[in-house]
């Protein structure tokens, strides 16, 4: 039997059982669209992370206390003198940024906000590539004299001052008065974290404010991407010499990316599998509906066989019906998935990215579900004996 004829028969049968067809299509739609949305979120997040690395460049080394492999945060034993020692290893102090951070209450007049306050060196802006929208960044003199000046992230500036210019105004950080020196250009969100929700103050000022001599971590901008591994080894060796009982790790942006990528892969896999289960359930629905349809049409099958349909003709007819059912569900599911992805992009902080590849995959999976879950019922129909089939009511 030609495929066109099988499709014609299938359309007729599916239209005749509208309600059942509709419900089955709905099940496939939900499965396909949820797979699509989750892939879109995974792809969107991946693109965002890759974009962040592009911003920072691939020649950035991050120096953190502890062993990265263990993954547990470690209290740092590093101090300003260690920063100077690393700067000597690197050979250029302007390439070594350091920071100590704490969550603090920041207040301007009656308005308060709780935010991350980072004590940094004046080179932080260049090493970590940050743009200033208004005013100026911290200066060498600010750090050397431990001045009480602050640079606000875009979110903090908006929360405290709304539309007005905060430069030159007074704020308090943990109850201590600061002058606003500048405002960062907005960065937006990354992995659901608002990167504009922070305040920078001089490292020296921060150590006094937090009553510590600690430095949490270093960032080193290497001149030569090829020599990064060797440079990292020398930095770790230097720090190890200075703190024999502590461990230090150096990670590159690429390593962070690949770790994040792995986490994203696992996450996308788990979410995709969850959505896949709903597709699987819809597949079982397809099987069920096909079996019901075959039972109802046993006489028709008997008649077709009596007038010359081969088992393969009958199998092809019902397989076509199942695939048509899930393909319609697939196409509608893709439409629903695109709409849902647009909604996620607009109404949630989650990034999304729709690719032709994921759309093709969703459709392929839907059609595949039709084949896999249609085969068994189709074979059962193909094996029906014509004489008893004709005799059924």
């Amino acid at each position: 039997m030609r495929i066109g004829e099988a499709a014609r028969v299938a359309v007729g049968a599916l239209v005749a059982a509208r309600l059942r067809t509709g419900l089955t299509v709905l099940g496939v739609m939900i499965g396909v669209s949820s797979v699509m949305v989750l892939i879109a979120i995974g792809d969107g997040t991946r693109r965002e992370v890759a974009g962040r690395v592009d911003e920072l460049g691939s020649n950035l080394l991050l120096v953190v206390p502890g062993k990265v492999e263990i993954g547990m945060p470690t209290i740092s034993r590093m101090q300003l003198s260690d920063v100077e020692a690393v700067a000597r290893v690197v050979g250029d102090p302007t390439r070594v940024a350091a920071s100590v951070a704490s969550g603090e209450l920041v207040q301007a007049g009656p308005v308060k906000t709780f935010t991350t306050v980072a004590g940094v060196l004046e080179n932080n802006r260049t090493v970590l590539v940050r743009d200033i929208a208004r005013g100026a960044y911290l200066s060498r003199a600010d750090v050397d004299s431990a001045r009480r000046v602050a640079v606000l992230g875009a979110t903090v500036a908006r929360v405290l001052y709304g539309g007005t210019d905060p430069v030159g105004r007074q704020i308090t950080v943990a109850g201590v008065r600061f002058r606003v020196a500048g405002v960062f250009a907005p960065l937006g969100q990354s992995l659901g974290v608002d990167r504009d929700d922070e305040v920078h103050i001089p490292l020296t000022t921060a150590q006094r404010l937090f009553a510590t001599t600690r430095v949490d971590g270093l960032a080193v901008r290497a001149t030569d991407p090829a020599g990064m591994a060797a440079l990292g080894d020398r930095i770790v060796a230097e720090l190890g010499e200075r703190h024999p009982d502590s461990a230090f790790s150096v990670v590159t942006q690429d390593q962070i990316l690949s770790v994040l990528g792995d986490i994203l892969d696992v996450l996308t896999g788990v979410l995709g599998a969850t959505a896949g289960i709903s597709l699987l359930v819809s597949g079982v629905g397809v099987s069920n509906i096909m079996l019901v349809s075959i039972r109802e049409r046993t006489r028709e099958i008997g008649l077709r066989k009596a007038v010359g349909a081969r088992p393969s003709d009958i199998a092809a007819q019902f397989l076509t019906e199942a695939v048509l059912l899930t393909s319609v569900g697939g196409v509608l599911g893709i439409a629903l998935g695109v709409a849902a992805t647009v909604a996620v992009e607009r109404f949630t902080p989650l990034p999304t990215l729709l690719t032709g590849w994921s759309i093709a995959l969703s459709f392929g999976v839907a059609a595949g579900v039709g084949i896999i879950f249609g085969v068994l019922p189709a074979l059962r129909a193909a094996r029906l004996d014509p004489v008893p089939a004709l005799r059924t009511e």
Binding site: G12, L303, V307, G308, R310, P386
Partner: protein, 244 residues
Amino acid sequence: MTAAIEVRQAARAYRVGQTEVAALRGVSLTVRRGDHLAVVGPSGSGKSTLLQLLGGLDRPTAGSVVIDGHDTVTVGEAELARIRNRVIGFVFQGFHLQPRTSALDNVALPLVYRGVRRAERRRRAAEMLARVGLAARAGHLPGQLSGGEQQRVAIARALVTGPAVLLADEPTGNLDSAAGRHLLDLLEQLNTEHGVALAIVTHDHEVAARARRQIVMRDGRIVSDTDTDTATDTDTITDSGVCS
């Protein structure tokens, strides 16, 4: 005349739970091209079972049935389907028309499995419907047709492929005699003009009397097989089909 269907010592037993029910107990019969035979006998004597074997809808559990040179016991399912499509036309007791399909498409159905294109199928089906006098009803659904009209659609469907043998299981059973007679006229015309062999299971004496050959069954066996024209057992004659 050559044999269209050759049945040799065919038996058909049905398994019902633990016991076996013998529907046919060793039947031998030759249907020749151009034959016109009626199968009569009490209910449960195995008439329908025999017809199913003749049409390749079913296979014997012992013995053999050879349709157009193909032994139905040994051919595969697909090949048997092809034989049914090419050699046999079936008119079922309940007609078995597809309720959601027009008379025209009901008649065209067997051509689907012969790989005939849609336009050509419809052309041939329309021609066949005209032959049975239903040209004006081509677009009607079976439910919109009278019993007699439905039967003619079923016959058109059985004949559309140009079969060598037409098998009918009590085709006039539920029709008034005027419609039944008209139908028999049509079948006999096909038989004499085109040499289509007819095998009709019937309870109706009038229908049986019009056949050239009467086969009487009882309890799964053929108890007599007589040729009306010569009043001789067909076992002893070779050329009953073409007498005129």
